[in-house]
Symmetry: C2
Subunit: 249 residues, 2 copies
């Protein structure tokens, strides 16, 4: 019996309260789940609106049972049509499909993703373009078996560019190569380490939105069929005054 | 600075691999997030399909920026129209709206929900009907301020009925009254305690699907704007053989 764990952390670039990246997760109607990670071009409210639109469309299609490759294509066509080739976004879909027992990574993102197994690290960096700018864009789709001690790491490009301003480099490959996959550590540890390193390289002031998603397939610690989800979100107070309590709901 | 934490746990009723309850969470496009919890009438695959359809519709509308009350009404109308008043589901929407700084609980569910604060427990049990069976059903909507040491507990009715077969009772009110809200403990603790108690009362074999969602508003442990999400899902192997690798994607 295995258990699949996913740990996500997201920070906004310094000076902006809100990350322009959008991450959503849904249950797949046929069994399993998907994570959708979108980085909208630009920063601030415009980027957030864009990434929200793209992520919304993607999760609606996934919830309708559409296959991941069709979702990425349809979402591209939607963005390309309605923004007339003027707006770009990166799109990653990370799915575990319980019907086929496969992990699927759909990638419209120049940034690579990584898979760590006890036998070593593999970089998936086949050339891939963001959605929205050119007609008929397709995702690069990679399939992996659901096997214990497999870690899949995806992220938005803000992570790769951490430290650039200061001539420093995240040395992601070195760092991930050193991850002891066979020990079956919690993916939260890996996600937090990566993000912390990136924020440190930017001297505590991230120059871009950064999101990291780490999936791990691990032996189940205890028998049982409970699904669990935990989220924490910083809260800075209302953006505008509360409406009158007698407002129509 | 505050932080909002949400802990969810879901178990399937004994003998069914899959819970008929569906829980989804989305970021609200105006800021904040929503949790949608649906319990479809019946058990097994039929209940799961129903709860998936209802939850899908709800999250699509929420992602479009629709207000919670309109979402609950529209989702009811959808179910009532297309299942011709023959299918029922309970629907809870738990939202934190960062624009207004309010917690909103929208309830189409005979089961109550609970709010624990340092000054005591409050039960929200105004009569409320499931969606799908009668025309023009409306949700009961409750608004709460985002204040530290507030816990909101919602669940599906499987939890309330735990132990019924054996003449035992969860004694939910006693249990929740004893929760030390002012200590600011992690809501995961409360969620796991409730679920564990319920499963124990059913002697390890839950007689129904059970889902518990606990939201807590707590002082932020460290400054920073990182959002975090963690999920774990049991995996029992593929439901059917993998497709040929050259299948069109």
């Amino acid at each position: 019996m295995l258990e699949i764990h996913v740990a996500v952390a997201k920070v906004a670039h310094h000076g902006s309260g809100e990350s322009g990246d959008t991450l959503e997760t849904v249950e797949r109607p046929g069994g399993g789940f998907s994570f959708v990670l979108v980085d909208g071009q630009g920063t601030g409210r415009g980027a957030k609106t864009l990434s929200n639109l793209v992520a919304t469309r993607a999760i609606s299609l996934l919830k309708d049972g559409a296959r991941d490759g069709a979702v990425a294509r349809a979402v591209h066509d939607y963005l390309y049509t309605y923004r007339m080739g003027q707006a770009a976004a990166t799109l990653n879909i990370l799915s575990v499909d319980f019907q086929t027992g496969r992990i699927l990574v759909s990638r419209n993102n120049p940034a690579p993703f990584f898979v760590i197994r006890p036998q070593g690290l593999r970089i998936y960096n086949e050339p891939s373009t963001p959605i929205g700018l050119n007609p008929m864009v397709k995702p690069i789709i990679s399939e992996l078996p659901v096997e214990p001690y497999t870690y899949v790491v995806i992220f938005t490009d803000g992570l790769l560019r951490a430290g650039e301003r200061f001539g420093a480099d995240l040395e992601l490959v070195n760092h991930l190569s050193a991850w002891p996959a066979a020990e079956g550590r919690n993916p939260e540890e890996l996600t937090e380490e990566l993000l912390q390193r990136a924020v440190d390289l930017d001297q505590g002031e991230p120059s871009d939105d950064m999101s990291v998603v780490t999936l791990a397939v691990l032996p189940a610690e205890q028998p049982g069929t409970a699904r669990r989800l935990y989220t924490s979100v910083p809260y800075e107070g209302p953006a505008r005054p509360a409406p009158r309590p007698d407002d129509e709901e």
